[in-house]
């Protein structure tokens, strides 16, 4: 029986996802603003065959939740721009997906699209984009273009507060527009647009470049991209989603949706909601949506030691660490077993958030990966030359090229 492949992503952030992780012996808190620190983490992931890494970001200092900025002295504060960091890493580490987080709320969609496209050229086909919405009022004050009222995530989730629901819909609508612009710009050059025809003096065939002519509520973009089509054509779009509105965004526009089940029942409910959403919302991407789960991971030799290590971190932090994702504090074998249970439930990958860096990354690569490998679920094209190939996506077609009459004719005659 051939198994469905299962894909592995690592979510990199600071010294790890536990807010006290920077205080451990193995942590390198003074190196968080050095490229070398990040390169060494990605090399570790790449050499173990991890499919992709993501890099967290926001347009402001770290906060917990959606509240105002907290100038806490005991947590990591400060962060490099993820898109730029991704490009520095990609120039040095080949053969692993590099997926920076970029917000759609205050950024220029044109800059974001060309930045990710450049990352695809630099990495020679391993770029992705973790789309994020900024609902924090202090981030809006950094740009001063609009005011965003303080968000109450509970009220927004249950949908009882009209204003909060409208705000969420507006922000995710803008995110959908930003992804749409990116998808169009990424196709705005056909693969063979550069012709270098000395006889006619033309470097490009401008018939193979396309205006994208996007007009939305928050912005309009004429195009074409300044960047020629990149190796993947369409870099991989990842959306983390916890509720209905982001589910709709993911179903319409994402290649991969990250979900955060806390139990088997919870997973079943989320899969059901995503399934219902797929019936209602038009999908604008060719490949079927991939569903990945997310989990914070802390690994020790025994379950007891893992629980102790987590408790010790919580004590250092003087509070219990809570996450939107489930926290797996366990042995490598048990973490692998949980991933396999998710896989059997129809999940196609996981984005693991190491509680401690580099410690839990190494325990994933050296402990969890070998266990999974034995089961055969990690079988995949090892010679894949792009992230899309590695994840088993079909080659990206070009919406403008297929609309050309002669191309359409070719396809038609080939089908005859």
């Amino acid at each position: 029986m051939s198994r469905t492949p299962f894909h592995l992503g690592i979510a990199l952030d600071g010294a790890g996802w536990h807010p006290a992780a920077w205080r451990l012996d193995a942590a390198r808190p003074a190196a968080l603003f050095d490229a070398d620190y990040w390169v060494s983490l990605v090399v570790e992931a790449q050499s173990a065959g991890i499919d992709l890494v993501t890099i967290e970001d926001s347009l402001g200092l770290q906060t917990s939740g959606f509240g105002a900025v907290e100038l806490r002295r005991d947590e990591v504060r400060g962060r490099l721009d993820a898109l730029l960091l991704a490009n520095t890493i990609a120039a040095q580490v080949p053969g692993i997906g590099i997926v920076p987080t970029v917000t759609t709320t205050h950024t220029e969609p044109f800059h974001t699209a060309t930045g990710i496209q450049t990352l695809d050229h630099v990495s020679e086909g391993w770029a992705g984009w973790r789309v994020q919405v900024s609902a924090r009022s202090h981030e809006a004050a950094h740009v001063g273009r609009r005011a965003i009222p303080a968000l109450d995530p509970v009220a927004a989730a249950v949908g009882t507060d009209e204003e909060q629901s409208a705000l969420i819909r507006q922000l995710f609508g803008e995110a959908a527009d930003a992804i749409e612009v990116a998808h169009r710009l990424w196709d705005s050059w056909e693969d063979d647009a550069v012709i270098r025809d000395v006889a006619t003096g033309r470097f490009i065939d401008r018939e193979r470049l396309h205006y994208v002519d996007f007009e939305g509520e928050s912005f309009s973009v004429k195009g074409p991209s300044i960047v020629p089509r990149s190796p993947q054509g369409q870099p991989v779009v990842y959306v983390l989603a916890h509720q209905q509105v982001p589910y709709e965004l993911a179903v319409a526009q994402a290649d991969i949706v990250g979900i955060t089940p806390h139990s088997d029942e919870h997973l079943e409910r989320i899969l059901g909601e995503l399934g219902d959403t797929e019936l209602r919302v038009e999908r604008r991407v060719n490949d079927p949506l991939r569903i990945w789960t997310e989990a914070v991971v802390l690994i020790e030799d025994t379950r007891e030691k893992a629980a102790e290590a987590l408790a010790a971190l919580d004590e250092l932090h003087r509070g219990t660490y809570a996450s939107d994702a489930v926290i797996l504090a366990d042995t490598a074998e048990n973490v692998a077993a949980q991933l396999l249970r998710w896989q059997q439930a129809g999940v196609t990958g996981v984005r693991l958030r190491p509680a401690r860096l580099p410690l839990d990354l190494e325990r994933i690569t050296r402990g969890v990966v070998p266990v999974l490998d034995e089961t055969g679920v990690l079988e995949r094209p090892r010679d894949a030359s792009t992230l899309r190939q590695r994840l088993g996506f079909a080659p990206a077609t070009n919406r403008y090229a297929t609309a050309r009459p002669e191309t359409a004719e070719l396809i038609e005659s080939a089908n005859r």
């Binding site: 012996d25 005991d74 490099l80 520095t88 060309t114 630099v122 065939d205 960047v227």
Partner: protein, 467 residues
């Protein structure tokens, strides 16, 4: 200490490497010409410039593809990367060379761009630079949120305010704000974070920056505008002027003007470097170099390119004209719209330009193509490596410049020959570094004074407020 010229100290030459642009200077109809977008091209270009100990490499910015008469211009190289993204990538494959990008103050927001430049400075360990440009037209605005809003007169005031807000952000964390003491549990000294609270005509920015001071604290600021406003901005805020006065006499006049403005505001003369753009053609003999210059200029101005330059003035189809023959006798079609978009120079009076060109061509006996070559494919330094090195050195020692931004004509190998043959000549004369100083920032490589040290006692209460 005397100021007479005989005892004037020998100046050290500063050089920048301009990545081949998307104009006719870059020859693509040549077998050595490689991809304009593959990372391998950028890596080669950067590593070659670093081999030549250049101060920095320089990238222009693409905000929209050029158009001629309503169509995407297809005769020159088209397509380039996102400026910040490619510079960050190059930071990963170089160690010493400065990384300077052109970034618009019109189609960016200060909080985000200041953060990205600080990130680039961290990633490169102090090698970031920013060529701050202004853009005002709706043509480029069509790709951005702000669209077509900026009055010409507001361009420099926006750039100045953009720079001022960026500086506040760069200065807002104390040098010792990051403690990262595992024992005490203090990661950041919160009193070392200053709140930026800026409210001005162009920007409202309130909040904390996300990064501790980068190695340079501020990126090196480059300015390229030539107008009085541009020169004033450079005098107050820039570290390098990227000028177009490579000609000896014009260079001396410009140098004198700008350094005089520095005297007037009490800035040291060597705190602002003037680097004109310059092209070069080498040969084993002067005659061979001249012959190569002629050949390359014909590649830079293909028959179609020559016609296109004329059409930008005539604003009508001239494809029936023979480029090896005389200029059209018909007059330009004058419309309110004008012909070329996305170019720095727009012809404001096409009829006068056409008349002047016709007169000049007739006087020199030039064809259409020869006329276009005379202004669009003129090479600054043509000769043997020794001649080029001596000419560059004379310009610098005699205050026509502090060095040059060298523009090659092929991507990515256009500066290989310069590094192989001209750089050693400059080094032999003792006017150019034989290696970088260890761990030098770009400020230090350029011989600029450091950004003034700040107090390490910034407190949140003493917020950086500006009205």
């Amino acid at each position: 200490m005397t100021t007479s010229s005989s005892s004037k100290p020998t100046k050290q030459i500063h050089l920048a490497a301009h990545f081949p642009g998307v104009n006719n200077t870059t020859v693509w109809s040549d077998e050595r010409s490689e991809s304009q977008i593959a990372f391998s091209s950028f890596r080669h270009f950067a590593q070659n410039a670093e081999r030549g100990k250049f101060d920095f490499l320089f990238l222009a910015e693409g905000l929209r593809l050029r158009e001629t008469r309503g169509l995407i211009h297809d005769l020159d190289v088209v397509g380039r990367p996102n400026t910040l993204a490619i510079l960050a990538a190059l930071a990963g494959v170089t160690s010493n060379i400065g990384l300077v990008g052109t970034l618009s103050s019109t189609f960016n927001e200060p909080y985000e761009l200041a953060r990205q430049l600080a990130t680039l400075d961290h990633l490169s360990r102090g090698r970031a630079g920013w060529n701050i440009v202004t853009t005002s037209d709706a043509f480029h605005g069509a790709n951005f949120r702000r669209g077509k809003f900026l009055d010409l007169a507001d361009r420099y005031s926006r750039a100045q305010e953009f720079f001022d807000v960026s500086s506040q952000l760069w200065d807002s964390w104390a040098d010792d704000a990051i403690v990262a003491d595992k024992q005490s549990g203090e990661f950041v000294r919160t009193s070392g974070l200053g709140l930026v609270d800026h409210h001005g005509p162009q920007f409202d920015v309130t909040g904390y920056a996300t990064l501790p001071p980068s190695p340079q604290q501020h990126p090196v600021i480059v300015q390229a505008g030539d107008s009085p406003d541009g020169r004033d901005f450079a005098t107050s805020s820039a570290d390098v002027i990227f000028s177009r006065h490579a000609d000896y006499e014009a260079g001396r006049a410009f140098y004198d003007d700008v350094k005089g403005r520095l005297d007037a505001v009490g800035r040291p003369r060597d705190s602002l470097k003037i680097l004109p753009a310059a092209t070069f053609i080498l040969g084993d003999t002067q005659a061979e170099a001249l012959e190569r210059s002629r050949e390359i200029s014909r590649l830079q101005v293909s028959p179609q390119t020559a016609i296109s330059f004329l059409e930008q003035v005539w604003n009508t189809d001239l494809s029936g004209y023979d480029v090896e023959g005389p200029l059209p006798e018909i007059d330009p079609v004058v419309t309110a719209e004008g012909g070329a978009k996305g170019r720095a120079h727009v012809h404001t009076d096409p009829v006068a330009t056409a008349n002047a060109w016709r007169e000049q061509a007739a006087a020199e006996g030039w064809s259409i193509r020869e006329l276009v070559i005379s202004f669009a494919a003129k090479h600054t330094f043509v000769g043997t490596p020794t001649f080029v090195a001596e000419t560059i050195n004379r310009h610098v020692q005699e205050d026509a410049s502090d060095g040059f931004v060298i523009v090659g004509n092929t991507n990515p190998t256009g500066l290989d020959e310069f590094v192989d043959r001209v750089i050693p000549e400059l080094q032999e004369r003792g006017v150019y570094r034989t290696d970088y100083d260890e761990n030098a920032t770009l400020h230090e490589t350029l011989g600029l004074p450091p950004v003034p040290a700040r107090s390490t006692s910034t407190v949140a209460g003493a917020a950086l407020v500006s009205a």
